[in-house]
């Protein structure tokens, strides 16, 4: 081949290679604050990775989940990076919808990832999604009110104690409520909390034969306790209060105690958003009969659908966004309180983080102590602390959540609600083929 022919061809090839490198990947994510920060750091990514451009789709959680599931299940191919949770990852990985993430680069330090989170995002031993942030649940309380009433918080509070304290600190006239808890129906709303209570009272969703256990004594005890506690010492309208509404209430100073996600800590600690930033106390989530499953585990992670046609670029992005360097970048730009929590040991060993986030220790303990594979007193066939890792759970959890909310408003008794839930769940499980 003559040189005069080779050179132009080589030249074209070189140009072609550069042009081919200018890829655009579509990233779909939730609109939580940490992800919004990630979106705002697009420039940093594009500068350090020339040739990759980011297109963002930011949606509210429920809408996002529906959108992503529709797309991935129909092979729509609309997204290159999806933000999904510990609930979806094992289910989708089982169906080969995700790209397994083995052979990660050395400097990614995959062993730095917290073990429980890593396990929650793996299937068949391989990591299927990289954790962006993780959370568990814990208890927030008003130090000033506790001091006034002469109560000291023990290392591990129990639900009984919580009820006692709520009674002492409840003052409806002053809009000072003893305790605020989630009540809004939803598998990820009220049922997240109620599931942990059921776990801690010794119950479980299903026995080893997948028979629903919702009418069991443990459920009865746990849900009655929950309903009584909220009705006696909770705010009005509790049955439509979700995470956000309770966050608002606590930030305004209306709650003496609140058991909810660890991700609220940073927000409550921020004096711009919260009136009680300087009166904040932290404690582990309360327990009853067993500490197992008393606090949940949830992680938002970045995954690459198998239907993506830009897997390489997508991989570069997700390793960047979940790396130690990224965390340091956020720490510098936004402050260490806003760093995505719960994913890496190095975050918690970082003196900057320890200094600016006094709750860090609690969060780390909670996350490390939450084991989705062993969250119930008696053995159970499913993974997940506050959810059951089966596709039917979204529907089951929401239905049961509706019933529990009805018990909360007094529309039905706890017994009726649980029996109705049991029947509905049995129906669903039968139809899905679990109870053959």
């Amino acid at each position: 081949m003559k040189l005069s022919r080779v050179l132009p061809i080589a030249g074209l090839a070189a140009v072609g290679a550069t042009v081919a490198n200018a890829e655009t990947i579509t990233v779909a994510t939730v609109n939580n604050n940490d992800m919004v920060v990630m979106q705002s750091l697009t420039d940093a990514f594009e500068q350090s990775h020339p040739g990759i451009k980011l297109d963002w789709v930011v949606l509210e959680e429920n809408v996002l989940r529906q959108r992503l599931t529709t797309d991935i299940a129909t092979g729509g191919g609309q997204f290159d990076v999806m933000t999904i949770g510990t609930y979806e990852v094992p289910i989708w990985a089982e169906r080969n919808w995700l790209t397994p993430l083995d052979n990660l680069p050395e400097d990614y330090q995959v062993d730095d990832l917290l073990q429980s989170v890593r396990d929650g995002l793996s299937y068949d031993g391989t990591l299927q999604a990289l954790p962006f942030y993780a959370e568990s649940s814990m208890m927030y309380y008003r130090k000033d009110l506790f001091d006034e009433a002469g109560i000291t918080m023990p290392d591990q509070p129990t639900w009984q104690q919580v009820r006692e304290w709520a009674g002492k600190l409840h003052d409806a006239e002053q809009e000072q409520y003893g305790i605020c808890l989630r009540g809004k129906p939803g598998w990820g709303e009220n049922m997240a909390l109620v599931s942990t209570m059921v776990n801690s009272f010794g119950g479980r969703w299903f026995d080893m034969d997948w028979q629903p256990q919702i009418d069991s004594p443990a459920w009865q005890e746990a849900v009655s306790f929950y309903v009584d506690l909220l009705n006696d010492f909770g705010p009005p309208g509790a049955s439509s209060n979700g995470f956000n509404e309770n966050l608002a209430l606590f930030s305004r100073g209306n709650c003496a105690m609140w058991v909810d996600a660890t991700s609220a800590a940073g927000k409550l600690f921020d004096a711009d958003q919260s009136k009680v930033a300087d009166k904040l106390g932290f404690a582990p989530a309360p327990v009853a009969k067993t500490p197992k499953g008393s606090h949940w585990l949830w992680s938002w992670a970045l995954a690459i659908p198998a239907s993506s046609d830009s897997k390489d670029a997508a991989r570069q992005f997700i390793t960047w966004a979940t790396s130690k360097d990224y965390i340091a970048l956020v720490g510098d730009r936004e402050g260490w309180t806003s760093v995505p929590p719960g994913t890496r040991t190095s975050t918690y060993e970082n003196p900057n983080y320890q200094q600016s986030a006094p709750f860090a220790g609690f969060v780390l303990d909670a996350i490390q102590g939450a084991d989705p594979t062993d969250s119930t007193l008696e053995p159970s066939p499913y993974t997940g602390v506050q959810f059951v890792g089966i596709p039917e759970f979204q529907s089951i959890g929401t239905q049961v959540g509706q019933m529990v909310a009805a018990a909360l408003t007094g529309e039905t008794t706890v017994e009726q609600a649980l029996q109705a839930s049991q029947r509905a769940t049995e129906r669903t499980m039968e139809r899905a083929g679990y109870l053959d």
Partner: protein
Amino acid sequence: MTTARTHSVSGASASPVKRSPLASTLLNRRLWLGVLGWTLALMIFFPIFWMVLTGFKTEADAIADPSLIFSPTLENYAEVQSRAGYAKFAFNSVVVAFGSTLLALLIAIPAAYSMAFLPTKRTKGTLLWMLSTKMLPPVGVLVPIYLLFRDVGLLDTRTGLVIVYTLMNLPIVVWMLYTFFKDMPKDILEAGRMDGAGTLQEVIYLLLPLTLPGIASTGLLAVILSWNEAFWSLNLTSSQAAPLTAYIASFSSPEGLFWAKLSAASTMAIAPIIVFGWLTQKQMVRGLTFGAVK
């Protein structure tokens, strides 16, 4: 029709001069009507006013006890601007909403014309059947449509959305135009026909100007329905064709306090529509005299 008729816009007819003895009573009536009208309008508008106001509060103020006194801030607007590409979303919304409305009107005007002025025995049945095409709840048909769009390559395109919205709104547009056309006094059209106007001329020079209020409100409603449609617009688009409804969805119910930001984003989302609504409502007042049409 040689006598020019003036159709006054107000409900109270003749000029006050003719009724000077009763002028004071009349004035009183106008006053009370004004008070009632404005009170009701403000009551209806209040939640929106409150929402716009909240857009200027800090998040902490937004969840505090309701108050008109607070220190206003533009931080929400700054945040909203910096985060999403408002311009892109707005452009998509405008293209899709107006595109589908124009398309729907183009198809619907002839159809409504023939149904209103050239009715057959089948007209009523066709009309009813048209409306029943809208009875399928979108949640039930999401997956089939998604699969269809995937195969045809219309996912995440403005064209795809325009098609969906045109078809979605067509029954309503036809119905409403039919209603307003039917209300037109026949004698005007007869007069035009007697003067030798052909059907097309009849439509363009007579019908459209006379039914402008009807067409304007139909157009406005179709634009609003498309503008606010939040099921197909979220499920059939991702990054390229996403309209303002996706923009709003990115501020709605994240983990954390969001009401101030959502209010700011919403205000920006409805601003174009309010302007359009204001312009359109002027068209809806029939101030034409029949004499002028000739």
